[in-house]
């Protein structure tokens, strides 16, 4: 188990390093200086500015310095927002985005699993068709469309909820709903498929032959096995929620990390784009790692494989 843990950790660091390097050089292949649009400023200011952002140094040196700073957790200064660092922006934006993302994930997982299990248990009944129609709709409607529909209906036409911002629980309802619909639909479909598969397994028949009640069969024998595939997609689901926050935070004017990221894209603030990307990647890789560990805990077969592999 320990060897596996270390191996996995090293692989994680390597992947992160590859992403950082890739992002860094990608960002620096953009032709011209980030200040090209503002040529009006005089040359001394220009020089000073480039020196401050180390743009006058050779690329490889810049890379070295960036990595060195990164190890200490310093993501560098913002180019377009003078006097602010990427860390400042993240410090302000991340807690809000984290709140949004976490609530969304919890809502999506719980409602998705319930929907999927109910659909599987009523296979080919009207509940199944209803649940799966909702799920296909959920997958088909992009989150930004969902957000606009929700605003139109529940904030403008019938003003139950506020249109924008993130200041009270009431403000949180629409953004979370808009963001959770897609992942919920994915989880519901996956849970249903995997539940149906599990329900045809011999061990379910064995459990039935023992005289167990349907409730016991579903919760003790079927659900746990059916949820294993669901756990494996949590990593990529977190990624899609994360990219979802970009548009949701933009639409609802939520001052989170996603909004800063989109702003930085529109203003071509390369250091912020880079810093945020690195942060996001680290977050997601960590998430994938946690998902793997959870999977190992849930499925006793995994441990043995690893022991054998070692």
């Amino acid at each position: 188990m320990n060897t596996y843990f270390i191996k996995r950790f090293v692989a994680m660091i390597i992947t992160l390093w590859l992403i950082i390097t890739g992002t860094f050089f990608l960002m620096h292949t953009v032709p011209g200086s980030p200040f090209d649009e503002e040529r009006t400023t005089n040359e001394t200011i220009q020089k000073n500015r480039e020196a401050y952002y180390q743009l006058d140094k050779p690329l490889i040196l810049q890379y070295g310095n960036y990595l060195a700073a990164l190890v200490q957790g310093d993501l560098g200064p913002s180019i377009k927002k003078p006097g602010q660092t990427v860390n400042d922006l993240l410090g302000r934006g991340f807690p809000i985005s984290f709140e949004l993302g976490l609530f969304t994930l919890i809502l999506a997982i719980i409602s998705g699993i319930i929907l999927g299990v109910v659909a599987a248990l009523r296979h080919n009944g009207w509940i199944d068709y209803l649940a799966m129609s909702i799920a296909v709709l959920g997958i088909s409607i992009p989150n930004f469309v969902m957000a606009t529909v929700l605003i139109q209906q529940l904030a403008v036409n019938i003003p139950i909820f506020p249109v924008a911002t993130w200041s009270s629980p009431k403000h949180m309802v629409l953004p979370i709903l808009a963001l959770a619909t897609g992942p919920m639909a994915i989880i519901a479909r996956l849970t249903r498929t995997s539940m149906l598969e599990v329900l045809t397994q011999d061990y379910i028949k064995t459990a039935k032959a023992k005289g167990l009640s349907p409730v016991k069969i579903v919760f003790k024998h079927a659900l746990r096995n059916a949820l294993l595939p669901v756990v494996t997609v949590l990593g990529s689901l977190a990624a899609s929620i994360l990219t979802g926050t970009f548009v949701i935070e933009k639409i609802f004017a939520i001052p989170g990390m996603g909004k800063y990221f989109v702003d930085s894209i529109n203003s071509r603030d390369y250091s912020v784009i880079m810093g945020t990307t690195v942060f996001y990647s680290a977050l997601l890789i960590l998430m994938l790692f946690l998902v793997d560990l959870t999977y190992g805990l849930l499925d006793p077969r995994i441990k043995l494989h690893k022991k054998e592999a070692e």
């Binding site: 992947t15 590859l18 992403i19 992002t23 990608l26 960002m27 292949t29 953009v30 296909v136 709709l137 997958i139 088909s140 409607i141 992009p142 930004f144 469309v145 606009t148 529909v149 605003i151 139109q152 403008v156 249109v163 990593g235 990529s236 990624a239 899609s240 994360l242 990219t243 970009f246 548009v247 933009k250 639409i251 989109v262 894209i265 529109n266 071509r268 784009i273 990307t277 996001y280 990647s281 997601l284 890789i285 994938l288």
Partner: protein, 317 residues
């Protein structure tokens, strides 16, 4: 007691004696299969036809394609025609879907958006298919170290968040239609490669492939005759599901200002423009592009689901 009762019946008067003669049978008759056997593709097509939702999706997509190709021809307006006197008009017989803040016809722009979306979706699926099949096919067929190395690379790419990578690439190479397709293809093929490899690995070990190998059949022929027909099902499904995700990605990018640039129209651009007017009541500017995005994705998703059910031989009963 019981024994005697049945012995009495050992001559049954109701059955005529002349039936007790040996019957001469054509030997082939006993071998005949009673149910007509359909070919794999025909059978799949029949099953798809039975899936009403999938057929509705297919029908909508055909209609959409026709609209994308011919729609703008029948419209008196072009994508760029601006009539500043006719801003923000609601839908009417003159402007079916209304006009936007520059007096452009929303219907014409929606048709144009369909072109962009379908083009992006189809191209992305096609490129994914080409790269994925070659890469996954080689990895799966060669196996061993080659496979290990190639899949390690895929694993790394697979771990990256798709849209984040696309956004980065778009930032670097700049917005535009070709760059969207390019950016989508950079990591998009990974899923296809994984599927193809898995299929090839599985099928490679099947007896019928081993059998043709022992007869000395050439590799290329094995791939064409044995591997491809058996891997096509999951590949087609994957392609059908790639298209909506590419369409979503384009709309998403255009929505955050990284996609198609004015004066060109895409559903994402139009939705973004329409969003700012949500409070002023020009609902048609947001409604039509978002409706079309959702309907198109819905159609592709249900078609993909239908194909998955129709093409999976395990479901044949």
């Amino acid at each position: 007691m019981e024994l005697r009762k049945h012995e009495e019946r050992s001559i049954s008067p109701a059955i005529p004696d002349e039936w007790f003669v040996p019957k001469v049978r054509d030997h082939k008759e006993s071998e005949a299969v009673v149910r007509p056997s359909l070919s794999y593709w025909k059978d799949s097509w029949h099953r798809l036809m039975k899936n009403k939702l999938a057929m509705a999706g297919l029908f909508f997509l055909v209609l959409l394609a026709l609209l994308a190709i011919f729609g703008p021809m029948f419209s008196p307006y072009t994508v760029e025609t601006q009539k500043l006197t006719q801003q923000n008009l609601p839908p009417s017989s003159k402007y079916w879907f209304g006009t936007d803040d520059l007096g452009r016809d929303v219907f014409t722009r929606t048709c144009y958006g369909a072109r962009i979306s379908l083009f992006v979706g189809l191209m992305a699926a096609l490129i994914d298919f080409l790269i994925g099949v070659v890469y996954g096919g080689i990895a799966g067929y060669k196996g061993g170290k080659t496979d290990n190395l190639m899949m390690r690379f895929v694993e790394i790419l697979y771990g990256l968040p798709y849209l984040l990578v696309v956004i980065l690439v778009m930032v670097v190479i700049g917005p535009g239609l070709t760059t969207i397709i390019l950016a989508l293809s950079i990591t998009g093929w990974v899923g296809m490669a994984r599927i193809v490899r898995g299929q090839v690995l599985q099928i490679k070990n099947y007896e019928f492939v081993l059998a043709s190998q022992t007869f000395g059949t050439k590799t290329a022929r094995i791939i064409r005759k044995n591997l491809l027909p058996n891997t096509m099902g999951p590949i087609i499904v994957q392609m059908t599901l790639t298209i909506p995700s590419a369409i979503f990605a384009e709309a998403f990018l255009s929505f955050i200002g990284l996609g198609i640039q004015a004066p060109h129209a895409s559903w994402g651009v139009m939705a973004n423009d329409g969003l700012s007017t949500i409070l002023s009541g020009y609902w048609w500017r947001l409604f039509f592009p978002t409706l079309f995005i959702s309907l198109t994705m819905f159609a592709f998703n249900v078609l993909g689901d239908g194909l998955q059910d129709a093409l999976d031989p395990k479901l044949r009963r």
